[in-house]
């Protein structure tokens, strides 16, 4: 048993921290979010130059050969300053779907673009009635000769400016079956595809897409027809761990920032941090963060050890991070008083981000249910 970071991970974390310290002060972040793309293309290039985009890809694919722990180390630092560049959606989520797909021809064509950061891919999976179930896919892909005709709608696809979408579509089976799901890569500029951009509360730009009779070929499929579910489930599990690492970073910022504020803000002639009513609650914020960090380590180990309980551990992590992330952020707002509810202070932005992290791929209730079903039924 060893939970310490490797030397490489420590160096990686340091390089991320250093870059962010120089480039991600709250005012700098605000300017970035206001960009048309919702993030900084210049920073994205820097991420590429610094090699961060290659982390989770194997050396054979031209990557750094890292794993979920390496990615999480980076994501945790991202969470501390609320990085908005689409690292998670392009590299961790869509990137891994491509890296682990079985269509070698497609993979060797796409991989270099993904790793270099030149082209953004985004996973389009969520549907209006899916209740966040990964296997609920009503988007259809009807086979006609060598091609497929796709019709459906996908919601809240991250990174509205992505160049390509990876669409989960049903080639067989009932709407919630795990079997019969396929993954297609489609150009975001495809004429049959309608796109509506929405700004999310955390400032990110997402899109809802709609398509009818969009024709794609066998070559556009990432994995054999109808067999995409296990790939999706595996990649999403790992991506959720990385997302929760971001959340733990954000929570870490919050309990520290709140303690700092409480030590400097004076009312009634003393620092408000001297009131025990607040001290105990800050201790609880810290404790909640460490509980989540422990579950993060647990889930990383489950993945790295290829544990049979990995999905269970990921569900628990996501459930607890959702619940405590919101709680910690709400407490931080409260203890900042009026300052906490202004957009000028960073605190509220962490609350918004943690609300969104809770929502992605299902909130804390959804994952508690997943856990209890796996554990008790």
């Amino acid at each position: 048993m060893d939970f310490s970071l490797t030397e490489e991970q420590v160096m990686l974390k340091d390089s991320v921290t250093k870059f962010l310290a120089d480039n991600y002060a709250p005012e700098q972040r605000e300017a970035i979010v206001k960009n048309e793309a919702g993030y900084s293309a210049a920073h994205w290039s820097t991420f590429s130059e610094l090699g961060w985009l290659t982390i989770p890809f194997s050396e054979a694919d031209g990557g750094f050969g890292g794993n979920v722990a390496d990615v999480s180390a980076v994501m945790e630092e991202f969470g501390k300053v609320l990085v908005v560049e689409p690292y998670w959606s392009s590299i961790v989520l869509a990137g891994q779907l491509i890296a682990r797909c079985t269509n070698q021809a497609l993979k060797s064509r796409l991989m270099p673009q993904v790793i270099s950061g030149e082209t953004h891919y985004s996973f389009a999976w969520l549907e209006a009635q899916s209740c966040f179930s990964l296997s609920y896919v009503s988007t259809s892909a009807v086979k006609e000769g060598d091609s497929y005709r796709l019709s459906g709608e996908k919601k809240l696809v991250l990174n509205a400016g992505a160049d390509h979408f990876i669409i989960a579509a049903r080639t067989a089976g009932d709407v919630a079956d795990e079997a019969g799901i396929s993954l297609f890569v489609v150009d975001a500029a495809h004429p049959t595809l309608e796109k509506e951009t929405v700004r999310l509360m955390d400032g990110q730009l997402a899109c809802n897409i709609q398509f009818k009779d969009l024709v794609l070929g066998q070559d556009d499929m990432l994995i054999a027809e109808g067999e995409a579910y296990p790939l999706i489930a595996e990649v999403v599990d790992e991506a959720l761990v990385a997302l929760c690492a971001e959340a733990v970073g954000a929570m870490t910022y919050l309990y520290k920032a709140t303690a700092d504020y409480a030590n400097t803000r004076k009312q009634f002639g003393v620092a408000i941090g001297s009131f025990q009513a607040l001290q105990h609650r800050m201790v609880d914020m810290f404790m909640a963060t460490e509980q989540c960090r422990s579950l993060l380590v647990r889930a990383q180990c489950a993945i790295l050890d290829d544990s049979a309980e990995r999905s269970q551990d990921v569900a628990v992590l996501k459930a607890m991070v959702g619940k405590y992330g919101r709680k910690v952020a709400e407490e931080a707002v409260q203890m900042h008083g009026g300052m906490g509810v202004t957009n000028e202070m960073p605190i509220g932005h962490y609350l918004k981000r943690l609300m969104m992290i809770d929502m992605y791929f299902g909130g804390s209730d959804v994952h508690r249910r997943r856990f209890s079903d796996m554990r008790y039924l």
Partner: protein, 393 residues
């Protein structure tokens, strides 16, 4: 002991319902909930209520109040909330008016009460300062006597709707020598007076409710002072009690719970209903049970006032539990309605009216209700000290 309405009370309930139905139209509702039309629509709404004689229902009858019993007040607020109608913007009718009719001069009453009631003047509340929030008595905005005027210098912050206000009621420091509470005066200031600058503060719901108000050499007639010099704290404290009783939000919680239940009962395309999920029902029930208790806490307070008592310590409990329940309801609403998004559309986007956006706005701004009007921590301190007799360290 009973909680039944008399035939007269039932008739009154019907009257209120009918009034809401006829006057709080969906069109008005849409404008009042939209930031761009909020100001004008709020004035229009208060004028409609005033036309019926209900705008200033809590005032003494001689100033245009209704003389309603506690039960009638309860019926009124319940029906108001059930119709989704907001209460009047509180700063005029509920905050400054009680100070005016309790401590103001005859001239001040005659000048301000009628236009406050009819919404021909928009008030804002200038108490908090950057250095004086929970510790309000630490306020430093100075008022120095110069003949028949005071000269005001200082900064007020978190001033809700100062951008719309015609007048501001302020606590200012007129004496620095004694205990902080002793050197404070209560002034009414015309927002058009030279030297006043209002700067917006955007809150976490991405909207503009709050402001910083700066005073630089602002000349205010001494005649605009309420009551005695250096006695402002006494007047303000009385006012804070009124502010707190107005904050329980039981009606709001009940309406939201009804709305959440309706949403949860909708059958999705996949044939499921959220209400069939027992985890969800348990969460909903947890909140509802608390609100049921809160409703009767409020009734107990109202009934005590009715039989001649004053809003006392229970009013602190109401604000405390009431705001916590508002937030619980808002969290639940977020989970139900904002499940797809937490979107933050522009105010002229059609998504603005969506349930999801409403849930986001209410959740985000709702974080503030445990902070303003005396934070919940401060309320707990007050209750510990005065209701439980616990001594501070």
């Amino acid at each position: 002991m009973h909680a039944k309405f008399s035939p007269e009370e039932l008739a009154f309930q019907e009257e209120v319902r009918g009034f809401m139905r006829d006057n709080f139209t969906p069109e008005l509702a849409a404008r009042i909930h939209h930031p761009k039309t909020f100001r004008d629509a709020s004035i229009e709404w208060q004028k409609l209520l005033d036309g019926k004689g209900w705008a200033a229902n809590g005032w003494p009858v001689k100033h245009g109040g209704t003389g309603w019993s506690a039960t009638q007040k309860y019926i009124y607020t319940t029906e108001l909330a059930a119709a989704g109608a907001p209460d009047v913007v509180p700063m005029g009718i509920k905050m400054v008016a009680p100070v005016l009719y309790s401590y103001g001069s005859e001239e001040q009453k005659a000048r301000f009460l009628p236009i406050t009631k009819s919404s021909d003047i928009w008030w804002c509340q200038g108490y908090s300062e950057p250095g004086a929030g929970s510790d309000l008595a630490a306020l430093q905005t100075r008022a120095v006597r110069d003949g028949d005027d005071y000269i005001i210098d200082g900064t007020k912050i978190w001033t809700t709707f100062a951008q719309y206000a015609d007048w501001i009621f302020c606590l200012v420091r007129t004496d620095n020598t004694g205990k902080p509470q002793q050197g404070i005066s209560f002034l009414l200031i015309d927002m058009k007076t030279p030297g006043i600058t209002v700067s917006p503060i955007i809150s976490v719901d991405d909207e503009h409710h709050l402001n910083e108000v700066n005073f630089e050499n602002v000349r205010v007639p001494v005649a605009n002072r309420i009551g005695e010099e250096n006695q402002g704290w006494t007047y303000a404290k009385a006012l804070l009690t009124y502010e707190r009783t107005a904050l329980s939000g039981v009606g709001y919680c009940k309406r939201k719970l009804t709305n959440i239940r309706q949403l949860a009962n909708q059958v999705s395309a996949s044939g499921t209903r959220l209400i069939d999920d027992s985890d969800f029902r348990a969460r909903l029930a947890d909140v509802e049970m608390e609100v049921m208790a809160l409703e009767f806490l409020e009734l107990r307070v109202l009934s005590a006032i009715d039989s001649g008592g004053a809003p006392g310590m229970e009013s602190s409990l109401l604000k405390l539990k009431g705001t916590e329940m508002q937030q619980a309801v808002q969290s639940l609403q977020w989970d139900v309605a904002a499940g797809f998004g937490g979107i933050s559309p522009d105010a002229d986007d059609e998504l603005w009216e969506s349930e999801g956006n409403r849930a986001r706005r209410e959740y985000m701004f709702g974080r503030a209700c445990t902070i303003f009007g005396g934070s919940n921590e401060v309320q707990r301190n007050i209750i510990a000290k005065f209701a439980l007799g616990l001594s501070a360290r």
